[in-house]
Symmetry: C2
Subunit: 228 residues, 2 copies
Amino acid sequence: MPAHPLPTKIGVVIFPGFQLLDWAGPLDAFNILSNNHTLSLCTIAYTLDPVPTQNFMQDKQGSQFSQSMVPTHTFENAPDDLEVLLLPGGLGARGPGSDAWMKPQVEYLKRLDLSGKGSIKWVLTVCTGSEILARTGLLDGRRATTNKRAFNDVKTQHPNVDWVAKARWVVDGNIWTSSGISAGMDLAFAWMAEVFGEETAQFVADRSEYERNVDSGNDRYAERWGAV
Amino acid sequence: MPAHPLPTKIGVVIFPGFQLLDWAGPLDAFNILSNNHTLSLCTIAYTLDPVPTQNFMQDKQGSQFSQSMVPTHTFENAPDDLEVLLLPGGLGARGPGSDAWMKPQVEYLKRLDLSGKGSIKWVLTVCTGSEILARTGLLDGRRATTNKRAFNDVKTQHPNVDWVAKARWVVDGNIWTSSGISAGMDLAFAWMAEVFGEETAQFVADRSEYERNVDSGNDRYAERWGAV
């Protein structure tokens, strides 16, 4: 069983235009886990202002369809003893002007020791969260996956990463990356099985009435979205 | 195709201790839909203060693992032209003292015309959201389902509802109710297929890389949690 003591301190980084389910899928699995394991969550953002999900495609369509989350910490005062870091993706990291407004997030990630040798033992990314992580250079030479509709763009932007097209999720050492949006739930349960044990992971999935995809290679979306 | 004009105005009611994925699962499907269909969202609560997910089981375990969402409207100033109403459930509706603090939510629901003949054409509930709706009396004599671990308790509390134990979701007229937590995503896609068409629903699911359960009777959690 666990090579490390069971982690208790989880952090998640959010930014305007993050994808709701990238964030909420894994977090709700951890919510249920936290009923029986003592866990704490820090929600980290640029400022303490609520962070909206609204994105440029909704703007273009004329949709005002946003959910706003309240951070608990900023990049300046986030605790330095987090053990797990979760990175959702989303269109906010990809739209016009996004390089500028993603800079604080990327700078924060660069300041952290994400090697697995510091306090943070695991980094979990969902969807294009891996693209944000790739901006730090940490994924260079490592295996990772991402959203399959964005796959070819992400691959072009970060050619030194060993991007795996057909994968629901990929584990490379302490870095766990998932495919698009819903795949984050399968990643969360796979990670929970690895760290807290399979019995706990399946109990939580059953509580959530969630049908896990337990085969990391089972990914029909790679074909669906032209990543292979 | 649609018997009604396509809806554009969606409202969701939240309360302290709501289950994150009950809310985020359907809403993220609608987020993606709103990239190509013009939609607006109102997030409605007792006050405009952020609404936390923290629940009594986490309190008991010593977990501080909460996510806080910002409402856009209160029960007093919510718009009266909503076309779809979404009700998540969660432990906040079930813990000690919950009857008192759920009263404003139930009173708000009682004031609305949820018959399908007013502005609101559809009511969608996830998990124990159906139990909250049952408190209004609206489900009496109607078919509905709910979270399978809570099923027997909910059935005892509301004996005049025709509770369906083995169902991923149930449709009775304009009222769509789902089983526990993750089942809300299948309900959302089933509703989207009915209202916006199957092609749109599957496109959104593919964008989310979500494997839909399209059989409303396929529900192994009824056995798993002793509802049958």
